[in-house]
């Protein structure tokens, strides 16, 4: 096991990793940007080093600076978390060169799975089901021909893409040209690469993914599936494990396919194989994420396996002590991503000073966050405030628990999506599991509070302001008494105390 580990990330995932490393007995090293001096990951780590400006390109994305801190602090390994350098082949290579262990797969596996076109080719070679589409990047003319051949609706996707950027759904031929242009321009500005590919759009698709855990001794296991169909702007908002849409048979098959893909690239560590699934449980390979996933906690809750700790242990050369048949799935877990954003204005981020937070607690409730009263939510980073995770014996109980836990949350100073998440938990269609990636778009009524009884809020406002003014009045009184006393003392030639 490593004595010292550098965590090349920020926010809740850095906090999550720091905790795991500490529990494993390692000394933890945090890195931070200007904006993150007072962030929780800095205060929680054993050591912390400043690495530059607030913009990620000046700090968390600068390989040289992170390597320099690792060498200076004597860290033997680096955990990259998610985002930033986590799927950067060059960074993994550089770690290797410097004799630092990159906690993740090999640079080669990152390269193969990082490029979506290469990943698709690999999947094709090992006969993994794929959504029909172009075999790789296409020219404008090719794109249009292929789109007509596979049939509309089609999806245009950036080859280097992720997080929904550079993605366009096209319903008919007339829209194709302008959508292609927009996808390319978005891809160019987001990834510096405007190559795109085209594939058939699966109607009412569900997003189901398999968690992989592989050691460097040839053991590759899966920890079942997660369903992440509730998305806004192609980004996940609610995740659950297991999926309410798949049978035991499909689960087994999907798990086997995911293992096959991981093995094809000699994968080690934790990874996620994403699938798109239609309403008849037909699933197609989407991509593999070669890092820890935001939503990994739901899998931890149902499998009782600490994924982050295993990532560290695997990187240190340990062998997985359990076999596939030993892993059991128990109960139901849900995760809600609490964002500082306004659902009423198309989920516009709401940065600012978070004046006050009170997080829910209780049995089966886990709040993975890095926020505290008085912390600043800056526009430099993702506006995710917390991942609220619950576990219960079945889906219905988990939803009830989540709805109740969300109601315990109090956040003041920035707008949040908590009200929206509560309405989502209460919605009949969600409860029945009738979900797909278009769910939020289909339910705009969930975005606004609707008819809320304002009476308690108004009463609270009146009582609070009354109380605040009384306090202010009495403190003013105190101040003037002290002043008076001071003046008296000065006049009589003495001083106070």
């Amino acid at each position: 096991m490593f004595n010292k580990i550098l965590i090349a990330n920020r926010g809740e995932i850095a906090v999550r990793i720091i905790r795991a490393c500490k529990e494993l007995g390692a000394t933890t090293v945090a890195v931070y940007s200007d904006a993150d001096r007072s962030s929780l990951h800095v205060t929680l780590a054993d050591e912390a080093y400043h690495i530059g400006g607030s913009a990620p390109a000046e700090s968390y994305l600068v390989i040289d600076k992170i390597i320099e801190v690792a060498n200076k602090s004597g860290a033997q390994a680096i955990h990259p978390g998610f985002g930033f350098l986590s799927e950067n082949e060059e960074f993994a290579q550089r770690c290797e060169k410097e004799g630092i262990v990159f906690i993740g797969p090999s640079a080669e596996a990152i390269r193969l799975m990082g490029d979506k076109i290469t990943a698709r080719k690999i999947a094709q070679d090992i006969k993994v089901p794929l959504v029909p589409g172009s075999d790789g990047a296409v020219t404008d003319v090719e794109a249009s021909v292929i789109a007509s051949k596979i049939g509309y609706p089609v999806m245009i996707k950036a080859s280097a893409g992720g997080g929904g950027k550079g993605m366009r759904l096209v319903r008919d031929k007339e829209e194709f040209e302008s959508s292609l242009r927009m996808a390319r321009s978005e891809a160019r500005s987001s990834f510096g690469d405007d190559s795109v590919f085209v594939e058939r759009f699966v109607e009412q698709p569900r997003h189901v993914e398999i968690q992989i855990l592989a050691d460097s001794h040839g053991n590759t296991l899966h920890l079942f599936e997660r369903e992440c169909s509730i998305q806004r702007r192609h980004q996940k908002v609610v995740e659950e494990a297991p999926s309410s849409a798949i049978s035991a048979k499909t689960r087994k098959k999907m798990g086997e396919v995911a293992i096959k893909i991981a093995k094809a690239v000699n994968y080690s560590g934790a990874g996620t194989v994403e699938f798109i699934m239609d309403q008849n449980e037909n699933f197609f390979f989407l991509e593999m994420n070669t890092r820890v996933q935001v939503e990994h906690p739901v899998t931890e809750m149902i499998s009782n396996i600490d994924i982050v700790k295993w990532m560290v242990r695997i990187a240190a050369g340990e062998k997985l002590p359990f076999k596939q048949k030993d892993i059991e799935m128990k109960g139901w877990a849900l995760e809600c991503r609490v964002y500082a954003e306004d659902p009423e204005t198309n989920f516009m981020p709401s940065p600012g000073l978070l004046k006050y937070v009170k997080a829910p607690s209780g049995p089966g409730i886990r709040d993975d966050s890095s926020i505290y009263s008085g912390c600043e939510i800056t526009s430099f980073y993702d506006p995710m405030l917390s991942k609220l995770v619950v576990w219960a014996e079945n889906r219905e109980a988990a939803i009830d628990k989540m709805a109740s836990a969300l109601r315990e949350y109090i956040v003041l100073g920035v707008k949040t999506n908590i009200g929206f998440l509560i309405r989502l938990m209460d919605s009949e269609e969600f409860r029945q599991g009738k979900i797909d990636t278009g769910f939020i778009e289909r339910h705009p009524e969930l975005l606004t509070p609707g008819t809320v009884d304002l009476e308690p809020a108004l009463i609270a406002a009146a009582l609070a302001i009354d109380d605040l003014e009384e306090t202010e009045d009495s403190s003013k009184q105190d101040q003037s008494n002290w002043k008076l006393l001071g003046r008296k003392a000065a006049l009589s030639g003495g001083s106070l105390i």
């Binding site: 949040t416 929206f420 304002l454 609270a460 406002a461 009582l463």
Partner: protein, 164 residues
């Protein structure tokens, strides 16, 4: 103490009556006894007819953020105290005058009506724009000098509010 709040352009009035060990809220002409306890600077517990409600409160000047059941409400508050403080130089009898040549669109207060500071009393229209004229003091409407539809000159007295 009476409080006036604005949420998304809607105005609400709430009255707090404090007896020895009992607080009664008057809202919509209903009397509701409440139990109120401050947990910390931003969290309040309210018991309303047996219902226990926890609410987050953040005050920024006259703006209040109220967080309840996952929803954040932005409320603008005008307290009676504010109303008393502001008009100290303005008291007695105030004439509400037309600021420009205009037409009276709507009369919001009749003779005998009570008005608060900054409460709209009359709406006039000039250059296709409606503007609400507000009372600078708290008091009662004693005279109404125009009718709806009247054309008036700049400086014409429209309505008189008296604080006594």
């Amino acid at each position: 103490m009476t409080y006036t709040f604005k949420i998304k352009d809607k105005v609400y009035k709430i009255d707090i009556e404090k007896e020895k060990d009992q607080t009664v809220i008057q809202i919509d002409e209903k009397d509701i006894p409440v139990e109120f306890h401050k947990i910390d600077d931003h969290m309040y517990s309210i018991i309303l007819e047996g219902k226990s409600i926890t609410i987050g409160v953040l005050r920024n000047g006259k703006k209040l953020q109220i967080f309840m059941d996952g929803n954040l409400f932005e409320i603008e508050a005008i307290s009676e105290r504010d109303q008393r403080k502001a008009p100290q130089t303005l008291s007695g009898v105030q004439e509400i005058k037309s600021p420009m040549p205009s037409r009276v669109v709507k009369i919001l207060k009749e003779v005998g009506d009570e008005v608060l500071v900054d409460e709209g009393v009359i709406v006039v229209e000039a250059m296709k724009m409606e503007s609400e004229l507000k009372s600078p003091i708290e008091g009662k409407v004693t005279d109404l000098l125009v009718n709806e539809g009247d054309a008036v000159e700049a400086g014409t007295s429209l309505l008189i509010v008296s604080s006594e």
